[in-house]
Symmetry: C2
Subunit: 332 residues, 2 copies
């Protein structure tokens, strides 16, 4: 059994992306920058409002695993697709990105998950997810040996939405800790935090989570404050937690009870589509972390990967990130 | 019945695009820059060789109609999809691009056509088309009133591949001429010319075609010469034909028996993906032509539209071409 750097569990989603103006978001009742869960009827309605689309595999943790592989790390993804066109595309794309993916596809039930993403001229993305087959992920889909083989188990907060996935998450976390591995969680979205705030706080305080990824608004939602310093202090008060907070163009903060490190963002010529910015930041950070690099270096890798992803449409890297890191002197 | 600027008939295709290196093309036995027809088994085999993909609606004449609509022209497309996921995507995308599209989808039979496109680092595209539902296009799919309503009937040479489509093409051409309209043909691909050279020559000499679009290699294939001036002279010897020949970065030549006009290419910062360059050139040229602009102006519009399309992945415009033409002083 080969060892892994990171095993990620998440919703297996194919993104349908379209450029739009802000008016459409308002008229459609969409909350700009957020991820909303939608049923099939609402998904069809929103699709009708979209302009011409580009279809690219996505899914938060899946994007992170693709980023890790592009940075030369060994990554595996666990998530549920259906055996349909979109499911086959997702499977093809993640494997071809160099990520191991062996979760059996569902033969029946709901279609492979789709995320309808509206990208406004400022590059901001507004997401509408039809979870579909993701609802079928079960604890049995977790291979304990693979979890035990991974330095870090990485999970997205969005997993709290489909009920079986949450159980899979908890089982995997237990296996990871039994084997002396680290467990990382990304809070995913401030509305997702709103839905599951108390459970996420419990996970942190019960020691289920060792590394927490969040952006500013997610951190504010978690600690119910609009003040960054207050939220950061609350984060630092959590015992044995490594907190990694992204702040868009202000860079990021890597915080523990003992120390706080601020690291800059990587310059971007033009922000085209912010989808996947957090996912790819996590990929870069974890690539450094699993190599044993200092946090400053890991943060720089995260910033570089995030900068690449927001410079084009879609949340999967278009460049060889390891080469990009070398070209920019972030890695030797 | 509203009048139309251009009615285009073509293969209704969804593109699956992936970046690759030249070695893969050689190992897979692909002819760089060409369009090859593939069966389902070969398509599956090639898909397995592709890296992660981006899926965007395509189809040569369909791309041209999308470009025309983006330039403010009234365009309609005729082509056959199946009522499957890809067919619904194609239908959504072309309508949302502002193009009328009402050809009934096939309920059964082969799946919606797919084109597997390998894009090398130089931006060149190598295409492999599974024609699928395009084979089901029939003369009955031509609405004579719509053909009669269009200033120009535009058809792709690729239509010669599915047998029913060729009959649809001939029927539409007859209707157009009966109504005093112009008929335009693009030669599509030098290998396509190789397959149907004598038929294409007959179409031109029998007066079925009024406007011919070709790139250099297609023109060379048509007149069986490797010398551009020889080919151009042969083109100019055709009676009552307006010939529009694209020459990549060398711009284009608009030729009749009486005159030859050379027009420059539009500068491009970086060539990302040449898919659709010819399609969008034709769109720009026809936008000018149907407005009654001088050929120089039409050629400039073609060059502008082609420049936009090769600066990103996919063969459908990402910018408002009318605005782009105004911003660049090509249109007022």
């Amino acid at each position: 059994m080969t060892s892994l750097d990171v095993l990620g569990i998440g919703n297996a989603i194919v993104d349908t992306i379209s450029r739009t103006d802000d008016d459409l978001l308002i008229n459609a009742g969409l909350i700009k920058g957020a991820m909303a869960l939608v049923g099939e009827a609402r998904a069809d309605e929103l699709y009708e409002l979209m302009g011409p689309t580009t279809i690219i595999s996505g899914g938060s943790a899946a994007n992170t695993m693709a980023g890790l592989a592009s940075l030369g790390a060994k990554a595996e993804f666990v998530g549920k697709v259906k055996d349909d066109d979109a499911g086959r595309e997702f499977t093809h794309d993640i494997r071809k990105a160099g990520v191991a993916f062996d979760t059996p596809a569902a033969d029946d039930g709901a279609a492979t998950a789709r995320c309808l993403i509206f990208v406004t001229p400022d590059g901001q993305r507004t997401m509408n997810t039809f979870l579909g087959a993701c609802q079928a992920l079960q604890p049995e889909d977790i291979d304990e040996e693979r979890v035990a083989a991974a330095k870090v188990l990485y999970m997205e907060g969005y997993l709290w939405d489909p009920p079986g996935a949450k159980q899979a998450f908890l089982r995997a976390a237990k296996v990871a800790h039994t084997n002396g591995r680290k467990v990382a969680l990304t809070l995913s979205d401030s509305f997702c935090v709103g839905r599951y705030r108390e459970e996420f706080i419990s996970l942190i305080r019960d020691g289920v989570i060792d590394i927490l990824f969040a952006n500013e608004s997610e951190l504010h939602a978690l600690y119910e404050t609009a003040d960054f310093d207050t939220a950061l202090a609350a984060l630092r008060a959590e015992k044995n937690l490594l907190g990694v907070v992204t702040r868009s163009e202000k860079g990021c903060v890597v915080a523990t009870g003992e120390s706080v490190i601020a690291a800059p963002a990587f310059p971007v010529e033009e922000v085209i589509d912010t989808t996947g910015a957090g996912d790819l930041f996590a990929a870069g950070f974890l690539a450094g972390y699993t190599k044993g690099l200092p946090h400053e270096k890991s943060a720089a890798l995260g910033a570089l990967a995030a900068a690449e992803i927001i410079s084009h449409v879609g949340a999967r890297p278009q460049k060889d990130l390891l080469q990009l890191a070398r070209d920019n002197g972030v890695l030797l």
